[in-house]
Each structure stands twice: as C-alpha cells, then as structure tokens.
Amino acid sequence: MRKNLLVFVTSVLFFCCKEEEKKTADNDAPSKIETPVKVLPPVTHYTVPDHSPMDMVYFPADYPLLKMAGKTTALPLMRIIYSRPQKEKRKIFDGLVKYNSPWRLGANEATEIEFFSAAKIQNKTIKPGRYILYCIPQETKWTLVLNSNLYSWGLEQNRQKDLMQFEVPVEKNTVIIEYFTIATEKRSDKDAEIIFLWDDVKTKLSVSF
C-alpha cells in the first residue's frame, strides 16, 4: 500500500512538474488558469497600467494565435474588448453591481463587441459591425443589451441607442472568480457561447454565425 502511494505521489509530482515546464516554455501563449497578476505600482509620470486591465477575446478563441500557428486561414467571426475589474473581497452582485441598473460588463470604457459576419442571437439577426454590450443584472437573470453608442465610457448608457436585448439565466460557479472574465467557447465552427464570469456568478449567451 505504502509503495503504491509512493508511486502515485511520484507520478503526480512528475506530472505537475511537466505541466509547469510546459507553461514556462510557452509563456508567450495565454495560459488557461485564473491566476490574478497584480499590476506593478506606478513608477513614472508616463501612463501606468490600469488597475482593471483591458483584455480582448475572439471567436474562434485565441484567433490571433491560431492564425500565427497556421491553424486557420478563415477570418475571425467575433471580437470582444473589455476591462477586467477585480473582486478584491467585495460583494459584487447586489453590492458593487446593483440589480436592475445598467452595468458596463467590466470597467472603464463600455464593453465593445464586434461581429465580423452577420450573427444570430435568440433568433434575432445582427448585422456585421461593432456595438457596445452592457448588462442589466438581476438575481436570477441578466438582460444583455446591444447598443450603438460606440467609444463611450461605460458609466453612462444612452438608452435611446439600444438596439436589441437578450435575457439569459444566472448560474452559480463552484469557485469564486477574482477577475471579471469574458470567454468564448466553441459549440461548432459557427456556434459560439459567450461566457461571463465574476464572483460566484456565471451567464452564457449563445451566438450563431
């Protein structure tokens, strides 16, 4: 028994180390684990990195990497640009983010979503182009809103420029997500799921091309 355990532990450790090595060798590619990285403190009067750093996700996921590796020659279908606030021990939903009030789905600028091809969400057709996406959260559902007021700061939404909205149910995460995260997942080559995660909340929006 003891010997078995030893073999098991050794193989586990070996496996872990291999994973670690892979990550270090591949440090140019985005790693897949939620590890909060603190931004360095300001050192000059030049602009310093934002506390809620900006990030960008594509569908297909990691499109620029796929393209670099020669694994796709097709054009990307969708891109989302957003900023990533952190939980920092705060109560997020029904706390920092108020129920029934518009939320920019991130920080700083309004979250931007660009469809490079015509898309369909919940049977509504969306023309190719760039939009802003915001959210009106409630405890059990979110209303996601596409709006045309591009290049605007996310604190204020111009509701007159709302184009369409979609309701999605709220699910619970098993782990607490520190950084607000948007990811895309593939259901098929033409079907994506946009996943929104923060704190213990998770929502999904399906998009077809």
């Binding site: 990285v37 050192v43 990195p49 620029p64 290049y151």
Partner: protein, 186 residues
Amino acid sequence: MRKIFVLFVFSFSFLYSFSQTKLPEVDKSPMDVSYYPGNYPILKIQNKATEPLVARVLYSRPQKQGRKIFGELVEYGKVWRLGANEATEIEFHKDVKIGGKKVAKGRYTLYALVYENTWTMILNKDTDTWGAFKYDSKKDVLRTDVPVEKTDEVVESMSMWFEKTTSGMSLIIAWEQVKVSLPITL
C-alpha cells in the same frame, strides 16, 4: 492509510479539475488603449468632445522589470510588434496621411523595425495577428522612418498616446529611455 489515500486522490482530482478551468488569465502585459482626441470616451459621455474620434490604438504593455530593452529584449534590425501578445492595432476613423502617403480609414497593424537612432514604422494590412512572427512585408501599406529621442526618466511600462500637433496628431511611443513620435496629418 487507505482513508488518507482516498482523501489525497480526492483533493488532488479537485485541484486538477480546478486547474483545468479554461479561463483567460490576467495578462502580465495588460492591454491598453489610447485615442485621438485623448480620453475620447470620457469626453463623449460628458458632451465635451469638440472633434470626432480620429484614431484608436490597441496594444499590450510589457514592463521593463530591470531588463535592458532596446538592443537586447527588442533586437535591433528586427520587426517588433510594438508591445506584447497580439500585434498592435491602429484604427483610423477617417482618411489620414502618414509620411506623405494617404492612409484610408480602417484597421491596420502597426509594427516597428527598431534601430538605435531611428525606427522604421510599418503600417500593415494583416490584422488580428499575434506578434510579428508571421509579418509579411507584401501586406505593408507604408513604411516611414522616425528619429529616436531619449526620455529623462526610465519608462517602466511601454506607453503609447496621441498628442495634438499643428497638422493633426502624433502617436508617441515610449519605453525604457526611448521615445519616438509618428506624425499623422489630417
């Protein structure tokens, strides 16, 4: 013993499944954006924008972290993505001129061929790309040389921003003690 073993396997499989969660991590070289006019989105919601949006640059910001940057991390004579991760994207919302050549409104990738005293700025049509690994000069829109200036202080995080000029704007790029300005005319 068996109990401990089961517990160990259980906790390990839990940790392992957690580490498998496929989430984008927060990048060490975070992405950032600059606009011309500067801070356009804030001006826009305050109704203080006096001119329309002309340009937006999206780039990722590597940090010096005690390393020698130019001539080492960023090698002379090589095309550089002007940042980290995805190649830097510059978008014009109207036609502009760079280096005397007309640039139609649209999205481009901006690279730099870096030397000690000059940088050759390269505007390229191939967008949504990672690094400069697949840089293809056949997709160049234009190349223009700009002189290298020195900053008084060391810039830790690579920075880009636009400054107003008499003929339009300049895109300023600063890192370590190097600064270049790319003139863009309207």
